[in-house]
Subunit: 470 residues, 3 copies
């Protein structure tokens, strides 16, 4: 006897009838608004080639570290899930991998992955039974059949999802060929890139040397001299802007910034490219480069995103066998007030600059981030991120930032995903959680209902378009 | 078409009807109790002179960094808001500044400033339309007219607000002339001072040298010798007590305390006043002085308040142009368990001493502060402070401290404000949030209703009078 | 006029009627399930001798630091509560101590102690008036009379409480005589031990030297040589397993682990036992021993519990007069992501190893602990601990861990208590809070009701039996 799968129209709304009724009204205002996705990690190749995806496992399971990290934590080997090793793909049958996932689907109870996946299954694929061992084959077949049809090709889904703008993220050493191909194709979907220079800034990144070579080749600059290196960044920022980019993104271990003199910069850079750097040099260089990037943003108008605080590749054994992005990145305590001061001393009072701060350390929301964003003209708060991109996480974000930073120092929602099919689900969850938060303020007479309607639109559309200059 | 302004009688109560009904009952018990304000920053000159305030901008906008920090964060220049520079007042028209504020009033949605201001507008000034661009002149005129009348002079409002006791805060180098004038005037309002010696303890304070000179002049002691310096503190504490003070207040960067030998104290003090101190010396001296102040409190019975964890004047550019208290103070992570141990080793088990701890780091509530206050006889918890003095902040304070420290190791509400007109609003918010928290405990059968009634009175009146010895 | 004492059947359930109705249904499923108590500090002597307890003060008040720390914080001297000093028992009359406690019972409003005690009074002793000064004698008499009867002897209560398994905790230097006596007695109650080697691992522990001597005597090993020391641990772990132990427990100041070479281990151990160690050596040795214990757990299958982050004996004066465990242990900020990496590099991917992590620092729940447990196969999350073992604390635990770690990386409830009579109350609170959390997920359509029923059983019984291998 299989269980029914049906998304409840009131899901994620408070049980209290007064609050729920207000939440419904607010949600009705924004439920069908187009999706603006200013930060994410989908593959631009999909939209360049519009080639169909092959099966449920390759599309939904193997690329999604939210899913396989949970399965791995409960003892399921990655090979059995068709997750690639550094040495190549395991010879796992995709159907068998899917069955294994289905048999463990109960592990996701209470997680956002469950919400997103059920939304994908029910809304996108039209499946009406719950995923479990008994329905694994039905799922695998139904999804496979649909993926083979034109309506499930990447561009068709992009249009069906009503995506107004989708930003991908490419490294400074990326030639942006897929983005060029999208533009050359004549397709009208707005897919833009984002400038992510980590691999040419972080000398501790395992791909630093190779990335610097490509960086040099793409720019024709002497990237091993400080001035040439900066010039190369300026050139590539311009090239990214030509492919639609309005923003840069920086994923550093900490939020440290620095404000060195020109002489100190030259000397530090010489140690970095000379190979005789210490870990402290590496950190200082990353710190200085955030300030350099901020200064370039003052000049060229690109919005700057700082995503700090992830301990990358924590699992040594798994990194050796499977490489990066295998669910072994872990949040760390992150300081902002001290860390950002050197950069803010330079650009903090710039009214035309926008720097969007993210965190994996929720204790910074009320203590540091909301007070910073509620004072400095250049600072805005990015939404609840990664591990906190969930109903409870989003609720805590609003509860801990709104009273000090207000709503207008936030920037709407980021789906931040490489799981393209989950994008509508993620935006839907965010809209529901925001509407429910607003509904509580109205129900407690802390906000008028007409204000809440205006805010629901702002949180869905207005703030993101303004902050990201879209 | 202007929007209506009306305070809902159930504002800040849970939407759930059972909880709300209990909250209403509890609130009815305490809504009209007199205000006891044991910690704040109003200007004693107002009550000494009883001179009228001039207009809405000078009274409500220009002195309130809660308001202008938010406007500044959204790109509004401080000059346009009539905020004084170090070099003097800008030539901004107060009416134009008010209009600018009104046009940005939507920024405060979801913030406590909005709750406080609407209360001031509706309850104190009797305005019945919402503040927005279209009503700015109406507000400016209506407020201006009322301020010119006798009923809106400081002492009249003090009495109208039913303030039982109002504590201001003065530096150790303050001659307390306004407090003397209040007493000499024969007016019966109870305005008392609080001993705040930061500027003669913190050698990194920009006014340290000048404050030490006044400290010497006021006491006739050799304040540059360790014994004379301590004697001067004792004299001034006595002088403050003569002006009603029952408490001292200490705003340090950290909660660090120290317990040095007499010889070490002498040597450290010699470095401090000799000018050859390091930043570590400055921190150590502040730390030692908390212990010295605690020992003096054991002797003279003054309640000690510790307000740590603010990074003062974070915005370098703004500090240069506009000076301190311009909304650029930011919370920092703060340790208590290690920091307070040296002082607690000396005075921790004193049953007649009261030390009230505050924090800007909410992560310390359940982890450090409630466990400390739930053990040491001398320690009590101050209410949610500054950035956390808000409905959600107060709720988190209760949720994270009550189970370990109970209600009876807390000390009621502090408004901590220089915005005199907001005092009734702030106490009203605190009473509502506390009643709603108690109502939830009753509704969930964790507390009997008669106990909640008793606690509502304690949280409003009993605990503050006892803790501050009023 | 005394007040009534009656436990409300809906206590701890949300006031919202929809949520409450679901919570009731879920709770009905698990309310009467047997108690599995895999971690606690009851005295095995009780069950070995089955001797009756003497009176309310000696049973309920004097041993319970949750209670007397609160009374002490409000100025009640420990002598007056019959709390033993190092120099011996005070000559306090137990009835007078009980009366003092009763007169201060209002201090516990809003605390879990109040919930637990009322449950003990009403359910176990059948008392129907509330505790207060006026009822103190009635309580003391009623409890005393019942304790003298057979039905209130330890083994009778064990059976009445429907305890399926109760784990106590003994040091590595404990001869386990009471556990042997329990087994020899033929009584069928399942009381098992837990291996807690802190006193022979922590050279800063005041009993280290004496404990090492007993450790040597019990094992016949040369415990002052590194190999002999490790062999002694292996022998004692086996001896504990013979007394039913399935787990070890480690209460370290931090979660630091280390992964030293064999040569480094030998040298470090020589410094430790040679007496020429530094505090850094002491910390490093504790860190290395966590890794050694984890490796032994891989070999012998014992579950490993890590309880870090308590600053023991913070109150210097009280430690001198009264010794340890007097309510003066305080939580500290605790890092896990960096701290555990050396150990996880060795055993992190072991699928048959279980390491259960606890915290006193709630800021680590969403930031570090849930992400760690949601990835590493060997890691599970222990329940809300000590100061956080309370309705709000348990709620925060679920809200901050479920979305990343799910329910299945948690291990059910620990009562962690030496207050035997409170065990049913504590498990009842945990079941109610968990059912209410699940009910909210159902009411918000984030979980189906049949899934919630299954989870309620898992959180009560399934997960604890599996995690602790019972």
């Amino acid at each position: 006897m299989t269980r029914r799968l049906a998304l409840h129209p009131d899901r994620l709304f408070s049980a209290d009838p007064t609050t729920r009724a207000i939440a419904r009204t607010l949600y009705a205002e924004v439920a069908d608004l187009p999706i603006v996705s200013p930060h994410g990690h989908t593959d631009p190749r999909w939209f360049a080639t519009d080639a169909p995806w092959s099966n449920a496992t390759e599309l939904l399971l193997a690329p999604d570290h939210y899913i396989f990290r949970m399965l791995y934590s409960q003892g399921v080997p990655l090979d059995d899930l068709a997750i690639p090793r550094r040495s190549g793909h395991p010879t796992t049958d995709p159907r068998a991998a899917w069955a294994l996932f289905a048999a463990h689907y109960h592990l996701f109870r209470g997680t956002p992955s469950r919400l997103w996946l059920d939304h994908v299954f029910a809304e996108i694929f039209g499946i009406d039974v719950a995923l479990e061992a008994a329905t694994a084959d039905h799922y695998f077949d139904a999804i496979g059949e649909r993926l083979a049809t034109e309506a499930f090709h990447p561009r068709s889904l992009f249009e069906r999802f009503r995506i107004d703008c989708l930003a991908t993220t490419e490294g400074a050493d990326d030639a942006l060929l897929h983005h060029q191909a999208i533009r050359a194709s004549g397709w009208q979907g707005r897919v833009i890139t984002t400038y992510r220079p980590d691999s040419v800034i972080d000398v501790e990144h395992e791909q630093f040397a190779a990335a610097m070579e490509r960086f040099a080749a793409l720019t024709g600059e002497d990237v091993h001299g400080w001035q040439g290196y900066l010039a190369a960044h300026r050139k590539r920022r311009a090239a990214f802007r030509a492919m639609g980019a309005t923003a840069t993104d920086h994923g550093h271990p900490s939020a440290a910034t620095a404000n060195l003199s020109a002489v100190e910069c030259e000397a530090l850079f010489a140690r970095i490219v000379g190979g005789n750097w210490t870990p402290a040099d590496a950190e200082l260089f990353r710190a200085q480069m955030l300030t350099e990037m901020a200064k370039m943003s003052v000049a060229d108008g690109m919005v700057m995103q700082i995503h700090p605080g992830s301990y990358r590749n924590h699992n040594a054994g798994l990194f050796t066998s499977h490489g990066r992005d295998k669910g072994a990145d872990l949040p760390m305590r992150t300081d902002y007030v001290h860390a950002l001061k050197p950069m803010l001393d330079v650009v903090g009072n710039e009214r035309d600059l926008t720097i969007i701060l993210f965190t994996l350390d929720e204790s910074a929301y009320a203590r540091e981030l909301a007070p910073l964003a509620g004072h400095y003209p250049c600072l805005k708060l990015g939404p609840a991120w990664w591990f906190h991109d969930s109903p409870e996480g989003m609720r805590r974000f609003r509860e801990m930032t709104t009273e000090t930073a207000g709503f207008y120092n936030t920037v709407g929602f980021n789906d931040d995903t490489r799981a393209f099919l989950s994008i509508p689900a993620r935006h839907d969850v965010a809209r529901r959680v925001d509407c429910d938060f607003l509904a509580r303020l109205v129900a407690e007479h802390r906000l008028e209902e007409d204000e809440a309607v205006e805010l629901a639109h702002q949180l869905t559309s207005g703030l993101v378009r303004r902050a990201y200059r879209l």
